[in-house]
Amino acid sequence: MINPGINNAEILIIGGGPAGLCAAKAAAELGAHVIICERDRFLGGQLVKQTHKFFGSEKQSAGKRGIWIGENLTKEIEENENIVVLKNAAVVGYYEDGVVGVMQNNTFIKIKPEKTIIATGAAEKFLVFPGNSLPGVYGAGAVQTLMNVSGVKPANRVLMVGSGNIGLIVAYQLKQAGVEIAAVVEAAPQVGGFLVHASKIRRGGIPVLTRHTIVKAYGKDQVEGAVICKLDETGNPIPGTEQDIECDVICLAVGLTPLTEICAQAECDLKYIKELSGHVPIVDENLQTTTNGVYVAGDITGVEEASSAMVEGRLAGYAAAESLNYGLEKAPALKEEAREELRELRAGPMGLTILKGMEKLNAEGGHVHANLNRYSE
């Protein structure tokens, strides 16, 4: 299938997570031929560790656990004759002539796609505090990987920093794995994630401490504890409120930032948009970047929930296939359906930030449907 020379492809998808898999499925559904490159040895991206039930509506498989959504998608993709899956295949470069370099099991593969969909996701942000380099200061996603993918008990007692959905969900999943949670600390005056998650861990006895932050981590060679303190209304530490927390892992759940390196190599215009969590490519209503034929989907367009990533994948997949003259009759309606789902997913108060970010992106030349929702002023 793959040869040592240049491999021509209709659509290359970079990243086999929720967005990439849904993009592949959509493009193949319209008849296009797709290659997916996934750097890990399994498809599904971060869905493989999402043991909780997803939110959203039935259209986004709400009520089903993320792991099963990933498992079903993987099965559909692997059985699809229009899709070639390359696992253990890390994309290492997008060259000037549009050739994409892939390292698979120490072999360098060259792929020349007509269209590319970059769905590389996001990486966890770090936080500055003394002791943050000690072993035991882990990203919340890392802890999730250790316990839910490898089945390793990652800690005995954890301090969770950050109360967004990841912080709250991982705290819950740690408890499910038999790990004690000392507290969830949040610098903001309010819980960042869904309140149902906060209530769920709170009634499990986990304190959710808003207006609190980590002062330092300590330990000889690894984390043995942390000091937290209260913050005043301007966000400054209140002297005398320091509290010692015994823990062997400090989990950082302080947000994600889009992984746009390949976009940069493909010379897509990127802008720093705070609301979208970092540098993001400028896109049009088909999620095509400023580089002709290069599309994006998922967290790379701005960090959101996996449900939105999957719908974005569908939109980009249909659009890329349509641009190759596949499914010309069906594509416009399918794309509009996906856009409508995105609008609905973002129509609540939790969607305000992302819509504000999209408006800013449009001001920079983007053309996303950043419909203002009924919760905006």
């Binding site: 909780h52 039930k53 997803f54 939110f55 959203g56 509506s57 039935e58 709400a62 009520g63 089903k64 656990r65 099963w68 408890k175 499910q176 038999g178 005056p189 309010q190 819980v191 869904f194 309140l195 149902v196 998650h197 906060a198 209530s199 769920k200 861990i201 709170r202 009634r203 499990g204 006895g205 986990i206 959710v208 808003t210 207006r211 449900s307 609905e344 997913l345 973002r346 129509a347 609540g348 108060p349 939790m350 969607g351 009924r374 919760y375």
Partner: protein
């Protein structure tokens, strides 16, 4: 405050509480969902049409308590584990409080479990009346607890592993 602690206030709970008259008739749902998020599996789960949302999936669920039969289906479907079923007609002394549960170990029927309130505070030992599986893929369990009537609006969890035989 709910938004700063995760603990719903008395006022929050009053807003979603079934009327006393309905409670006196038996099993009924309490959806402890107070934030507009993009989520609606509860609406689809209710085959009696008791759960609706005004505008779209971002609206809060609204319950028509006369249509609710307390059938438990929505309890298993809610991704937020925010749905409870209360039966104040269980016996003279006790209500049945049904709680979604996803920890291990599971309690056994007849054992007494340490009951927790919305703050996670221990509020006593309550007899486990039933342990119901949501199914192979759902994997949420429903724990039915025998709770004195005056605590039926308080107890919302059990401490995993804190079980005793009498």
């Amino acid at each position: 405050m709910l938004i700063s602690t995760g603990i719903p206030s008395k006022e929050d709970i009053e807003k979603i509480m079934p009327p006393a008259e309905r409670l006196s008739k038996g099993s009924v749902v309490m959806i402890e969902c107070f934030q507009e998020i993009a989520c609606n599996p509860c609406v689809a789960a209710c085959k009696f049409g008791a759960i609706t949302m005004e505008k779209d999936m971002n609206s809060l669920p609204e319950v028509d308590f006369d249509k609710c039969t307390g059938c438990n289906v929505c309890l298993f479907k809610c991704p937020g584990l925010a749905i409870f079923i209360i039966d104040q007609t269980f016996s003279d002394e006790f209500s049945l409080v049904k709680i979604p549960f996803e920890y291990r170990p599971l309690p056994k029927v007849g054992q007494y479990a340490c009951g927790l309130d919305r703050e996670g505070k221990e509020r006593g030992w309550f007899k486990v009346n039933r342990v119901t599986s949501g199914g192979k893929r759902n994997m949420t369990y429903m724990i039915s607890l025998e709770v004195p009537h005056d605590l039926s609006m308080e107890i919302r969890n059990i401490q995993e592993g804190a079980y005793r035989d009498a």
